[in-house]
Structure formats: C-alpha cells, structure tokens
Symmetry: C2
Subunit: 194 residues, 2 copies
C-alpha cells in the first residue's frame, strides 16, 4: 500500500456546518456506511487520512464504537481489508482540528478544497486540481453530508471543485458515490481509467 | 433527463448467484442503501433501468416495500429527486428475466458485461467498452454483491470489465462506489471528467 508515495491527499467528511433541505445550517447525524465506503475509497486511491467531523458528543461516541469494532474488535479479525480501510479514519470536532493535524505532520497547512453538487462561480476543474495535487503540498478535500456544506465553509476554502456531472442534468449522487468518482478523477491511474 | 438519448445502458445488481467469503455460491441479502446509491448513479449517468436480481421471496418483498415508499409513498413526496432515481429500479428473479425485458423493448438481446474486482483473463478496458456502448446495441452491466459474481455468471457473460484500480494495490471498494466509478468511466462527459 503505497500511501506514503503519491500526493499528500487527505479527505474530510463534514457533519457540521452543513445545510438541510431548507438551507438552514445544521449538524447532521453520522451515517455509518459513509465511514465504510469513504474509508475504502480513501485506501483504494491512496488518501492518507479520512477525517470525520462532528461536534456532537453522542455522534462522536457512535463513530468511536464503529472504529473500535472494525480496527480492534471482532470486525478487525473477520475482515482485515475493512480494518485497513477504517484505520485511516480520524474523528475530530471541527475542520480546524483536521487542518492542525495535517499541518503538524507536514509542517505546512493543507490547501483546502471544498466540494459542492452545484456549480459555484470560480470552481476548478479536475485536470487543474489533479495538477495541483502533484505539487507536493498537502491537500484536504472536504465533503458535506445532508444537503451540502454550509456557505461559510464553501467561501472559506482555498478552492471549490467543479460538481460531478454525469450524462444527464440529474445531480443527486450520494456523498459516498461522489467521493469515489472524485477520487478516481483526481488520483486514478490514467492508463487504467482509459 | 436525456435517458432516451445516449447509449442503451442497463445495470443489474445481482444477489444470486454470488459467492461468499469462502467462495461458496450463495444468495445474499439485499442492502437497501445499494438500491438508493446505484439508482442515483444510474439516473445521473443516463442508465435506462437498474435490475435488482433476487430469487428470494422475502427479499423481493423488502425491495417492493422500499420501491413503494420512495416511488409512491411518503418518500416520493418528501424527496422527488429520490423518486426519479428509484423509478429506474425493476425487481426480477434472475438475470434471464432482465435480459428478456431489455430484448422485448429493443428487439435485440443485450450484450452482457460482468464486473469483477479481480483481473480476469481477457477482461476489457474502459475505452474499448465505452466505444462498444456507442454502437447502438443495448448493454447490460452486471454487478455482484457479497464477495462477487459466481464463476458461471462471469464465464457466461459476453465481456468482463477490467477491475477498478486506484492508486494502490488495495481493491475493496463497495459495489456502490465501484458502480459509480465505472459509470463515470464509461459514460461520463469527457470534458467534465478532465
């Protein structure tokens, strides 16, 4: 597993601040399958950590139980491949804590890249971000739950990535699916993707 | 939603025949989130139907309840985008029934394309399959649950698609993530994927 080679890529799955269906800022509940699917995609595409962000103490406890089961408990023995994935997950209370951990590791604050299902003015395409990832600086790709990242988080990020557009105007992938597609576009082996 | 243009693409999610961890042929249980995520990806990438295959009567009842809730029940009113996705799902008892429905619609049996996380001798790359999809014939991409499609299903398909390879040797994406990546590679808008 060549996670120490390749881009210094980090992922964050944000449960606060995100918006609900009415556009109000909320803290969403953790969906356990998000952790599994995104950790498996992170491991597949060589991301170094997946930060799961929630300030809610009961939700932090839920994440802790899931991680303990799959990295140390019965799940780790039953499915070692799942253990290798979930070992990448780190629980933090807010985005700043994730940025601090990355900065401490590399001596350099990460470039933050927010994702959004809508097309934001000034958003960046995949070839540009793929090139930027190769520049050696750590990058943190930020995914939202519920109806997406809160506006202040989008405007505070260094870059916003262009939305994943399929063959239609329909644009409602799950965050699990969108994260896998985005990782494939940003870090997939070009010869394999052809 | 341009589902009547573009390739005649169909998806199947197979719960029998698949193999378990020991390689034995089994019928797996339906995972409700598979239906949601794969239907959302199918709608995004312009696939025409998602066939959910299970011969088990209790599992068929579960699928029926999920579809009723999201296409006609309270879920349809709550989330119309989810309704549009789950309307693509068809429940069938076996792969032959899915092939028959496609053949009846187009007057032409579909080309069957099996997927596998392992690299099978003679498997086809994405550019080749992307080109074949454009030839006008209906194609049915077959996904397995549990530890993957049974050997007889793999050997009986017209083609086997190359596995999704990320930036590492780790190859344990969820079927939900793999399906989204495969659809993006086969049907994603080239200019958007760059």
């Amino acid at each position: 597993l060549k996670s120490s080679l390749g881009p210094k890529l980090y992922l964050a799955l944000t449960h606060y601040p995100v918006v609900n269906k009415e556009g109000e800022c909320i803290a969403s509940a953790v969906t356990p399958i998000d952790l599994h699917d995104m950790a498996r995609a992170a491991r597949t595409y060589g991301a170094r950590k997946l930060y799961v962000i929630t300030p809610l103490v009961d939700q932090q406890a839920l994440v802790g139980r899931i991680l303990a089961h799959w990295t140390q408990g019965a799940g780790a023995a039953y499915n070692p491949a799942r253990r290798q994935a979930l070992e990448l997950v780190r629980l933090v209370a807010d985005l700043a804590a994730a940025e601090d951990q990355i900065a401490a590791r590399h001596g350099l604050a990460p470039i933050t890249v927010a994702t959004c299902a809508r097309r934001i003015d000034g958003c960046r395409g995949y070839s540009e971000m793929r090139r930027r990832l190769a520049d050696g600086r750590p990058h943190l790709i930020i995914f939202g739950t519920a109806w997406g990242l809160a506006p202040n988080l989008l405007s505070g990020a260094d870059y916003v990535l262009a939305p994943v557009q399929g063959a239609t105007d329909y644009n409602h992938l799950s965050v699990r699916s969108a994260a896998a597609v985005i990782l494939d576009r940003l870090t997939g082996v070009a010869s394999d993707r052809r």
